[in-house]
């Protein structure tokens, strides 16, 4: 198993409960979409799965290890095998695209190589290849603050492709992007998962993307797994129940123009 969560619960320091009794197992090469209304706990679930948030209850098993039982060094090596795409690309504006992409392998590189790479890129060909898959090869030596939001997210995806992780996590990777770019990014993440055998878990607001690209769909509502079934068995009635009371997605499902302002702010 790449990822196994058993009875996972998270209570945030303020006392707000984000997850309760979540069981989820993901095998190598499997592709799982997390859907559900905003505030349902998808981001928290992904942070637990990426060993960046320690759950208050339950067990986490990641790539054959229990991350919270590991020492500092072993935990670091485990984290180097997990690649995450965030909703807002965490790239320093002043950094060059090539450096931002190469940073994907910092967990694997020696200190000397990483430091030298700041002066002269250690693997320009590798960064070029990763960017080329996202159609951004010509921006290799541009600075990140010269790129648009969609291009930045493509750089962030190029970074995880370059990292070659065993577990790919994506938290709303396309929520503020246009449909064509969204399609491109999701397809590249899926292709990477297929080519490398890495498991892919992504939370998505766009239900159509989830159903199109992910064989397995997990519905999360109020901190709990509401359903976990093959994409083909996800019915409109199920989605209606999942998004019950959620203004933004409710409008989408009902075939009305989406109230996108809320989605943009998130």
């Amino acid at each position: 198993m790449t990822l196994r969560l058993s009875g996972v619960g998270v209570v945030h320091p303020g006392g707000r409960r984000a997850l309760s009794a979540v069981d989820l197992a993901v095998a190598a090469g499997e592709r799982v979409a997390l859907i559900g209304p905003s505030g349902a706990g998808k981001t928290t679930l992904l942070r637990v799965a990426g060993a960046s948030l320690r759950p208050t209850e339950g067990q986490v098993e990641l790539l054959g290890a229990e991350p919270w039982q590991l020492g500092t060094g072993a935990l670091r090596r485990l984290r180097a095998r997990i690649g995450a795409v965030h909703q807002a690309p965490p790239l320093p504006p002043r950094q060059r695209v090539v450096t931002a992409v190469l940073a994907g392998r910092l967990g694997q590189w020696s200190v000397g190589k990483a430091l030298w790479s700041l002066v002269h890129p250690a693997d320009t060909a590798g960064a070029h290849e990763a960017l080329d898959r996202l159609g951004l090869a010509d921006r290799l030596f541009d600075r990140c603050d010269r790129l648009s939001g969609g291009q930045l997210q493509r750089v962030a995806v190029a970074r995880v492709l370059y990292q070659r992780p065993d577990l790919l996590l994506a938290d709303e990777p396309v929520s503020s992007l246009d449909p064509a770019t969204s399609e491109l990014l999701v397809s590249r993440l899926v292709a990477q998962s297929e080519a490398s055998g890495a498991a892919l878990v992504a939370s998505l607001h766009a239900v159509d993307l989830a159903l199109k690209w992910f064989p397995r769909v997990v519905g999360v509502r109020a901190g709990q797994v509401m359903f976990d079934r093959p994409a083909a068995e996800v019915t409109p009635a199920l989605l209606q129940a999942l998004y019950e009371g959620d203004v933004v997605a409710g409008a989408v499902l009902a075939g009305q123009p989406a109230v996108t302002a809320g989605a943009m702010c998130r």
Partner: protein, 272 residues
């Protein structure tokens, strides 16, 4: 009353009142009476003192001395700032909480992080709490008169200041990139180099150059206690009541500060 009272209004009002309540007794205590400056008698005294400064001395022998002292002061300030930088960088790296790996998770509770950070903060505090002139007085006793004492005194005090401010700059820039790198298994040092430094570099450089400018001025003060450079020259000129030389030295300070300013602006343009 509006229907939506600003929840911050009370807090802001309280802070403003508090600030005045604290500042007023302080001003009284410090005998803050700037209008005395403009009394006719005081103006005449100051005017007479300043008139002695004109015209600036252009005696070639003095100018040669001035040139030598300027170079000595610049060397002292630069060497002192460089040493201070070497002290500050490791301390700032240790102190910056943005690079705390144990905050991710959090990992098993460990006292090591807070204890090490607290210790580093304490060291920085001691270094900068004692003014550089005092350090210089102490060191002059050991090393004798000359710029070496000034360099060490600057390195110690400025190391403390740079370390504290570096750490604060590193904590104020967007921690997202560094955190993402830590979460992807990179080490603290590399998360620093790849995640924090790009955002913090202009601030760090401009503060360092500003500190160098301060070091030029501080090395002048230390010159008065025998640490060489422009200060020692100034001390001699003032003691001999040679206002023309003193004003020439002041003009040199002005020029140095202008140069430092231009240098800082140019560096920021390159790094922006």
């Amino acid at each position: 009353m509006t229907r939506w009272p600003d929840p911050d209004a009370l807090r802001r009002g309280t802070l403003a009142v508090l600030a005045v309540m604290i500042a007023w007794p302080l001003l009284v205590l410090a005998e803050f009476k700037p209008w005395h400056l403009f009394d006719a008698g005081n103006l005449a005294v100051m005017g007479g003192f300043l008139a002695g400064f004109l015209p600036p001395s252009t005696d070639p022998a003095f100018l040669a001395l001035l040139g030598r002292a300027t170079v000595e002061t610049l060397a002292m300030a630069t060497a002192g700032t460089a040493l201070a930088w070497a002290i500050a960088v490791p301390f700032a790296f240790v102190m910056a909480r943005t690079l705390s790996v144990s905050r991710i998770g959090p990992a098993r509770f460990s006292l090591a992080g807070p204890v090490v950070r607290g210790f580093a903060r304490g060291v920085m505090m001691v270094l900068r709490a004692i003014p550089e002139v005092v350090w210089a007085l102490v060191i002059v006793r050991a090393l004798g008169l000359g710029p070496a004492a000034g360099v060490l005194a600057l390195a110690i005090t400025y190391g403390g200041m740079l370390g504290k401010v570096y750490a604060e700059i590193l904590e104020s820039v967007d921690a997202g990139p560094a955190r993402a790198l830590l979460e992807a298994g990179s080490s603290r040092r590399m998360a620093f180099a790849y995640g924090l430094l790009p955002g913090a570099a202009p601030e760090l450089v401009s503060y360092t150059v500003y500190r160098w400018e301060c070091a030029v001025r501080a090395s002048v003060v230390m010159g008065f206690v025998g640490a060489g450079g422009l200060g020692q020259l100034m001390d001699q000129s003032m003691k001999m009541l040679n206002g023309g030389e003193a004003s020439m030295i002041l003009a040199t300070f002005l020029l140095l500060v202008l140069l430092a300013d231009a240098f800082s602006a140019a560096l920021r343009r390159v790094l922006a």
